[in-house]
């Protein structure tokens, strides 16, 4: 099969609107929860905790947010390459492992390596699951607004939201440039060196045209008082509640207690 050059299909899957209670939570509550889950999963000394967190906390939360299938599938997509890689690399070549389970020729599968792979995969699923749950249930604009309201610079929200909206346009431009270059005889299905040279013929025009846009965008923003030194009013409103404020503090305290306990156990 020939390697087709410029057709990487981008599948964006960041926010999935549902009518669940999880979607209605304040973004900061979900952010704090996700951070706490990930940190607890990574700092736990007990090897089974990450997997238990994933199965008995993240998946039920996903089901509650009507995102069970989406989070499940996306987590699998993320961790599958890791499963293969880490089982092979660490199962066979874990430094200092001695308990051989079975061997194929000069290579031996060892118990310590598999245990290490199991622990690491648990941690990666917690990171992927909690992150995806946050991303699927929270619109990035809401999360940015919540951060700006807590003192982050307005510019941060501008940069993140513009980049997210700009990506599909730039991707379309890349495809257009690729087609134009192909029409001029650029070889896109060829050996490695030809493909590397073809890459320059795409990247050059793409980056130049993007950079030329920068000037005009900046002028347009300035004309609309983007850098005016006053507080800005937001069109959106976020709903927070006493309960959620308390819940956020409770989660942070729980995290601190957990870290202290893990250090005590050392």
């Amino acid at each position: 099969m020939p390697v087709t050059l410029f057709a990487p299909k981008l599948s964006y899957a960041f926010f999935l609107p549902r009518t669940s209670p999880l979607h209605k939570f304040h973004p900061l509550t979900k952010l704090v929860a996700a951070l706490c889950i990930v940190l607890i999963g990574f700092l736990a000394s007990w090897p089974h905790l990450p997997l238990l967190l994933f199965v008995f906390l993240i998946l039920p939360l996903a089901a509650w947010g009507q995102l069970f299938r989406d989070v499940g599938r996306a987590t699998l997509t993320v961790i599958l390459p890791f499963v293969l890689s880490i089982s092979l690399v660490q199962g066979f070549f874990y430094p200092g492992a001695t308990h051989v389970i079975f061997s194929i020729g000069p290579f031996a599968l060892k118990e310590e390596g598999l245990l290490f792979a199991y622990r690491t995969l648990g941690k990666i699923s917690v990171l992927a699951g909690a992150g995806l749950l946050l991303m699927f249930s929270t619109h990035p604009a809401d999360l940015m607004l919540a951060l700006v309201q807590r003192g982050f610079p307005n510019a941060l929200a501008y940069i993140v939201m513009t980049a997210i909206q700009l990506l599909p346009h730039m991707q379309a431009k890349a495809t257009a440039i690729a087609n134009a270059q192909r029409a001029r005889g650029l070889e896109t299905d060829a050996n490695f060196w030809r493909r590397s040279r073809a890459l320059l013929a795409l990247v050059g025009p793409l980056v130049f045209s993007a950079l030329i846009d920068v000037n005009e965008r900046a002028l347009a923003l300035e004309a609309r008082a983007f850098s005016a030194p006053c507080s800005k009013t937001s069109l959106k409103e976020l709903h927070d509640s006493r309960g959620q404020v308390l819940a956020r503090w409770a989660m942070l305290i729980l995290l601190m207690v957990f870290i202290a306990w893990q250090i005590w156990e050392l």
């Binding site: 993320v78 690399v89 909690a130 992150g131 501008y158 730039m170 493909r195 320059l200 300035e222």
Partner: protein, 199 residues
């Protein structure tokens, strides 16, 4: 200090950062699909911002690129490497202020230096968070280093030192050509234009 930081974050810098993030992602994605090699070329935008606007804007570009990449492609495992991208921006900005982008030889040296820094910062992240693997072809290198007696941290560092300097050198050369292709009038709108304009 605050005033100096603020003078780097002008409106045109903010616009450049958002465009540079998209350049990082689109070019990085194309290279990944096309070349299938242990090079990524996913920091051209970061380098451009670091040269034209300074270390901190460059660092912000790098870190946000990784976070947004993670959001858009539903892959949170990319996000911890925002730390690496942040450092790449800082180092590139500092090197650019030493005028390395005015000479192709120094540009290459700068690429190697940045690559070594990137490998050093990435290694502990890959080793402690992901058990040394990334789920891609470079994992074979990690396995190779472990067979030769390295521990996981040393093996990931070894893998990084093989691929990162090459990757960053190519990135620096491409970024250097792009900067040379822009007109002086355009470049002079950015806060650190003196890093590239020859007087």
């Amino acid at each position: 200090m605050m005033e100096k930081i603020k003078s780097d974050f002008t409106t045109i810098t903010l616009v450049l950062i958002s465009v540079a993030i998209v350049i990082n992602i689109v070019v990085g994605n194309i290279v990944q699909v096309v070349l299938k090699l242990p090079i990524y070329i996913d920091s051209i935008g970061t380098v451009l911002v670091a040269v034209l606007a300074g270390p901190l804007p460059g660092a912000v570009t790098g870190a946000l690129s990784n976070l947004i990449w993670g959001i858009l492609f539903a892959n949170p495992t990319i996000m911890p490497f925002a730390v690496t991208a942040f450092c790449i921006g800082l180092v590139t900005g500092w090197l650019a202020s030493r005028q390395i982008f005015k000479n192709i030889l120094w540009t290459m040296v700068g690429g190697i230096v940045t690559g070594v820094v990137a490998a050093t910062v990435s290694a502990p992240i890959a080793a402690y968070l992901f058990g040394g693997v990334t789920g891609s072809g470079t994992d074979a290198l990690v396995a190779f280093f472990q067979v030769t007696g390295a521990n996981i941290l040393q093996a990931t560092l070894g893998q990084g030192l093989v691929s990162d300097p090459l990757d960053k050198t190519i990135t620096f050369i491409v970024a250097g050509f792009i900067l040379r292709g822009m007109s002086q009038r355009y470049l002079s709108r950015f806060p650190r234009a003196s890093n590239v304009i020859r007087s």
